[in-house]
């Protein structure tokens, strides 16, 4: 089967979307599928430009392909009879533009008509797709709201699950991945102030801005937590990250309304590596993969609540290991893995 993955490109920008696209191709090839990705240039502003872009994508023609997997707007407008749309939170999507145009449209009729054109084209394309998937519940509900379609949820698996496994227990709690306000690392630092000196926290990952990095460093210093909170603020090589996850006592992810496949991959990494998870009750989709007191702890999203949860897991290595093992088992049963995913995309 010849599979073409279609997505958009912003030249020289290589982020989560590109990484997921590459791994999708890699895993299809590993399974013997003949697959290639084409990334087409796309420019979303000014709003008027969207009309040209939609016209471009609708005008392209495909040959020598048995199945198309489109990962986002407006790549799914390229006509093809067996097209699967997999709407990913990590890729640019039309609802972002629709919501923006909605605001503009209150003042400008032109914005309103562009918005209508986007919606009209999208609905036609979604309805003519063989399958329609959303990468998360949040994406699913936005699609329902704007286009009145009901995609199935298909969470993109961890790109490199083979790296993650338990390597023991060095007794620290780990918060790794993207470092930005949304992931509430400062709340974790506050929680550390309430824990005994033996508690150790490692925050590791690339900060979104130098300002964010400075803010956290300042907070740690002001609280006198230098010896207990390690800030490793850089993009970690995947092998190094897997080592940190593998040796942790537990993993904490304090994102509000998080997305497993767009910014909170840490949750999947912890589950792969059999580590218990602390998430907060307001974590959205992330709550679904933590069974409170069985595979981790659903904490209140306050410093006190988080401190209590962390204390509990720091208190017993064996209990943490048990929860981690239970979490791994639960995770495997969800089948968020590449072979299941590719099977769903190609049947």
């Amino acid at each position: 089967m010849n599979v073409l993955v279609l997505t958009t490109m912003i030249p020289f920008l290589h982020g989560r979307a590109e990484e997921l696209t590459n791994h999708l191709i890699r895993h299809m090839k590993l399974q013997g599928v003949n697959a290639e990705a084409m990334r087409l240039p796309f420019k979303g502003c000014p709003a008027e430009r969207l009309l040209d872009e939609m016209f471009i994508f609708k005008s392209l023609k495909l040959f020598n392909v048995d199945r198309v997997i489109s990962l986002g707007f407006p790549a799914y407008l390229v006509p093809f009879h067996t097209r699967v749309c997999w709407i990913m939170a990590s890729h640019p999507q039309s609802y972002d533009y629709v919501e923006e145009l909605d605001m503009l449209g209150k003042r400008e009729p032109r914005a309103r008509s562009i918005k209508d054109a986007v919606i009209r084209n999208d609905i036609r394309s979604f309805r003519s797709s063989k399958r329609l998937f959303a990468s998360s519940k949040a994406v699913q509900s936005r699609m329902r709201r704007h286009y009145d379609v009901a995609p199935d949820i298909l969470v993109p698996p961890l790109c490199d699950p083979e790296r993650f496994t338990s390597l023991g227990d060095d007794g620290y709690i780990l918060a790794a991945g993207r470092v930005d306000g949304k992931r509430r690392h400062s709340l974790l630092i506050d929680a550390m102030r309430l824990l005994p000196p033996s508690a150790k926290l490692i925050i590791a990952g690339r900060p979104d801005s130098p300002a964010e990095a400075r803010r956290l460093q300042e907070q740690v210093r002001a609280a006198g937590l230098e010896g207990r909170v390690t800030l490793d603020l850089r993009a970690l090589p995947r092998a190094e990250l897997a080592g940190l996850v593998g040796r942790a006592r537990a993993v904490v992810c304090a994102t509000a309304d998080g997305d497993l496949a767009d910014g909170d991959e840490l949750v999947m990494e912890a589950l792969e590596a059999s580590k218990p998870l602390i998430t907060t009750a307001d974590a959205g989709d992330l709550c679904n993969v933590v069974l409170n007191d069985r595979t981790g702890i659903l904490s209140e999203s306050t410093a006190e609540g988080l401190a209590e949860s962390m204390a509990k897991l720091l208190g017993s290595s064996s209990e943490a290991a048990e929860m981690g093992a239970a979490g791994h088992e639960m995770w495997c049963s969800l089948k968020i893995d590449w072979s299941t995913t590719i099977e769903r995309l190609l049947t």
Partner: protein, 345 residues
């Protein structure tokens, strides 16, 4: 500088049109540039060709790149303030193949007008270019004839030329390329029947046409050549290729009217091996000068058989022609330094 390499492609098909881009990209990066490759799917379907061209035309690349380099048509119609066109062929059924059997369209007023419009669009897109290069003198001439456009010939080198080496001039002629009817592997097999020496032939390459592959298999059996002709219908690895060429007696490349000298010719020359070709192969004789860097035979089995026997019988000749083919690379400046210099100046 920020460079965009823009080309059209048929998804999941490899070949020369892909290689020229894929091999250039890392060389530009090595030279200190930032490079992004844009492959745009395309179909040679007259019913939708103009619509597809319009899509290419409307893409907005101006802010993303300091310079774009375009390759396979209709990529040259994209708009950019500094557009370099490295033209590798026209959409040939409307150009040099218009009056041949390769053009299935009727020559009605409608299609004549269609053809004229395509020519106008191509010429306009070419006129906008900052510079125009072609991959061969043949294509350069076609641009002049059909579009009235002057272009500079810039021969495309192959990936990592330093990999190739010569170890011996053995008894086997290497035919390494895709196995397709227009590459004419059948001609080489027919020639093998007429040779008078024990020269051997090895055909290696994948075929998109099971029918042609099967035909070759039967032809070998029919001519009772199983012990002297090897048919290896795989896309062999680069390592296998350098190894095969290192001990080959010579190479053969006899496509029908191709646009350029063909990468197989260059790869053979890098391994100091001469190429046997035929006079109607299109661009190959630009590189292979008969009796100097190779043999340009008449396109019939008897003439090819005679060429095979000559290099088999006279190994010194095979060696000298191969050495001259290697010299020819420098003569035509088929190396990356030159290409990078021309494309970025």
């Amino acid at each position: 500088m920020k460079i965009g390499l823009v080309s059209s492609a048929i998804p999941l098909v490899q070949g020369g049109g892909r290689f020229i881009v894929d091999w250039l990209a890392p060389k530009l990066v090595e030279a200190g540039h930032e490079v992004e490759t844009v492959w745009i799917p395309q179909v040679d379907d007259p019913a939708t060709l103009f619509q597809q061209m319009l899509a290419f035309r409307l893409m907005d690349l101006n802010d993303s790149f300091d310079r774009v380099i375009t390759f396979r048509p209709p990529a040259h119609v994209v708009r950019h303030h500094t557009k370099i066109v490295w033209f590798i062929h026209h959409i040939r059924q409307f150009y040099d193949l218009w009056e041949t059997d390769y053009n299935p369209l009727p020559r009605t007023a409608y299609w004549e007008a269609y053809r004229a419009n395509l020519k106008t669009a191509d010429t306009k897109a070419l006129d906008e270019a900052h510079k125009i290069f072609t991959n061969s003198a043949i294509v350069q001439k076609r641009l002049k004839t059909f579009n009235g456009v002057d272009a500079e010939v810039l021969y495309p080198p192959v990936l990592a030329p330093e990999r190739f080496f010569a170890e011996a001039w053995g008894g086997e002629i290497a035919f390494i390329c895709r196995v397709e009817h227009h590459k004419r592997q059948h001609l080489a097999i027919e020639a093998m029947k007429l040779t008078r020496t024990p020269v051997r032939l090895r055909i290696a390459g994948r075929s998109a046409s099971a029918e042609y592959a099967d035909y070759l298999r039967k032809l070998i059996a029919l001519r009772e050549l199983e012990d002297r002709v090897t048919l290896d219908l795989r896309w062999i690895s680069e390592g296998e290729k350098t190894s095969l060429l290192s001990t080959a007696l010579a190479a053969i490349y006899v496509p029908l009217d191709e646009d350029s000298y063909g990468y197989p010719t260059i790869e053979a020359a890098l391994a100091r091996k001469t190429t046997v070709t035929v006079s109607d192969s299109g661009g190959v004789p630009e590189f292979i000068i008969d009796g100097v860097s190779g043999i340009v035979a008449d396109p019939d089995p008897a003439a090819l058989a005679d060429a095979f026997d000559r290099v088999w019988t006279d190994r010194k000749l095979a060696r000298d022609l191969g050495q001259n083919a290697y010299q020819r690379l420098a003569e035509l400046r088929i190396h990356w330094e030159h290409v990078i210099e021309r494309l970025t100046s």
